[in-house]
């Protein structure tokens, strides 16, 4: 499917066909990131490397992301330079690939794209998979000066302030999670949350509303109808998106930032597993 050229930044969404024609392009690095941790090993887009969201992107002790030196090492290992175009794809309609892309943005790597429809569409189109893992010559990725925590990431205090000031918060979880009826998403185990509900004042807009049945992003017009007409958000608004651990909200962060061109969207990665466990955090139930 050809991505909608009416997106504000159409260049960040590429089709499976585009990826297929760039698998040997040295200026491109194709990156698979999944929830199913062994899925890459069962077969992947030729030339793709694997980024494990927990092992590669998160600190292994503290609940936080890796440091700039770790990010530079990760990129260097895969031969990525600041000029490399990183094309992300994965399972679950690109949740984790959007998450990985968002972490790349945390470190200032802006040359990023998402393969529309992700892994499932690639397979549905009977495109080739391989188990061959290509070793790229290591690069020397410069250590980013800092992690851009203030620019694209929100913390508990930011979300609390947003709620108190009645600024836009978008809760992208399922309706049952938003209402407080359940504390885990359908088909998933409980991930250790003590209270159900949502941040007071948040809009409940499940991430899934932004995609078609085949996992591709909806058209610009359809997305505008959801976020700008129904929610009455403006591209100049300061918006915070959240879910349970920040992966589904990365997807919405991507939609708002790139497809609709919102200037100030932050992903609250602490999300409900922080808020729902935090002593004294205000909760609303619908």
């Amino acid at each position: 499917m050809i991505p909608d050229s009416n997106y504000v930044h159409p260049e960040v969404v590429v089709s499976t066909e585009w990826v297929a024609s760039h698998v040997n392009d040295p200026s491109i690095r194709i990156i698979e990131s999944n929830e199913d941790i062994l899925l890459y090993d069962t077969g992947h887009v030729p030339g793709a490397v694997h980024i494990d969201w927990r092992r590669d992107l998160q600190d292994q002790l503290v609940r936080d992301y890796i440091q700039p030196t770790d990010f530079a090492s990760l990129c260097s290992r895969y031969g990525i330079t600041p000029e490399t175009t990183c094309v992300f794809y994965g399972d679950k309609s690109n949740w984790w690939s959007c998450y990985a892309l968002w972490v790349f943005r945390l470190f200032g790597h802006t040359n990023v794209k998402i393969m529309n429809g992700g892994r499932d569409l690639w397979i549905a189109e009977a495109r080739p998979l391989t188990r061959e893992v290509i070793k790229f010559s290591p690069s020397n990725y410069p250590v980013p000066a800092k992690r851009l925590d203030k620019e694209v990431r929100a913390f508990f205090e930011d979300a609390l302030k947003q709620s108190q000031q009645h600024l836009p918060l978008v809760d992208v979880r399922s309706p049952g999670e938003f209402s407080g009826e359940v504390t885990h998403m359908p088909d998933y185990p409980q991930e250790g949350v003590l209270r159900g509900g949502h941040i007071p004042g948040a809009h409940g807009v499940p991430w899934k509303r932004a995609v078609n049945e085949d996992g591709t992003f909806k058209s610009a017009a359809e997305l505008r109808a959801i976020y700008q007409e129904e929610l009455v958000l403006k591209p100049s608004d300061d918006v915070i998106a959240y879910c349970r651990i920040g992966e589904r909200s990365s997807h919405t962060w991507f939609v708002l930032t790139y497809l609709l061109g919102f200037d100030n969207v932050r992903n609250y990665d602490g999300s409900w597993t922080e808020w729902g466990n935090r002593v004294g955090a205000p909760i609303e139930r619908a």
Binding site: E35, D36, I37, L38, D41, T42, P186, P189, E191
Partner: protein, 149 residues
């Protein structure tokens, strides 16, 4: 606690592997998951195919017992089930094959990280534990039905 012989052999094999080879072995087991599905014409003493709330997709447990009361399992998994769970279904069908009910119920869950490796056991991959529970439950229910005649 000692493990049943066949399961112990798999544990010993997996524990001795470096991470990369362990992953390859798990993928090989996952590839074999289809072979553990019920075959056409097979008759079982107990069948339990369902989708539970905490699982991504359906899991079917099929139990056949022989004259000595030994359990033989087949497992059918829905397409959305994760690779690690597919691997575990193959491992459990092989590793628990031929156990009597009491032996099956005595198998502890602590072998899972030994096979899978701590690196791969995560909250969202806990279905690997769920499979063993479903197999034990299937055998227990079958036994109860037998007792009732």
């Amino acid at each position: 606690m000692s493990y049943p012989k066949k399961l112990a052999d798999i544990i010993a094999l997996m524990e001795g592997l470096p991470e990369i080879e362990r992953r390859e072995m798990l993928v090989a087991y996952a590839d074999q998951a289809k072979n553990q599905e019920p075959r056409e014409g097979e008759v079982f003493d107990f069948e339990d195919f369902r989708k539970d709330e905490e699982c991504t997709d359906s899991v079917g447990i099929y139990l056949k017992t022989d004259q000595e009361g030994r359990c033989h399992f087949r497992v059918k998994l829905g397409p959305q089930v994760q690779t690690l769970t597919r691997a575990m279904s193959s491992i459990l069908c092989k590793g628990l094959d031929g156990l009597v009910l009491e032996e099956l119920q005595a198998v502890p869950q602590d072998f899972v990280p030994k096979i899978v490796g701590a690196e791969l056991v995560r909250i969202r991959s806990h279905t690997v534990y769920y499979l063993l529970t479903r197999m034990k439950t299937a055998a227990a229910v079958w036994k109860k039905r037998q007792a009732r005649g």
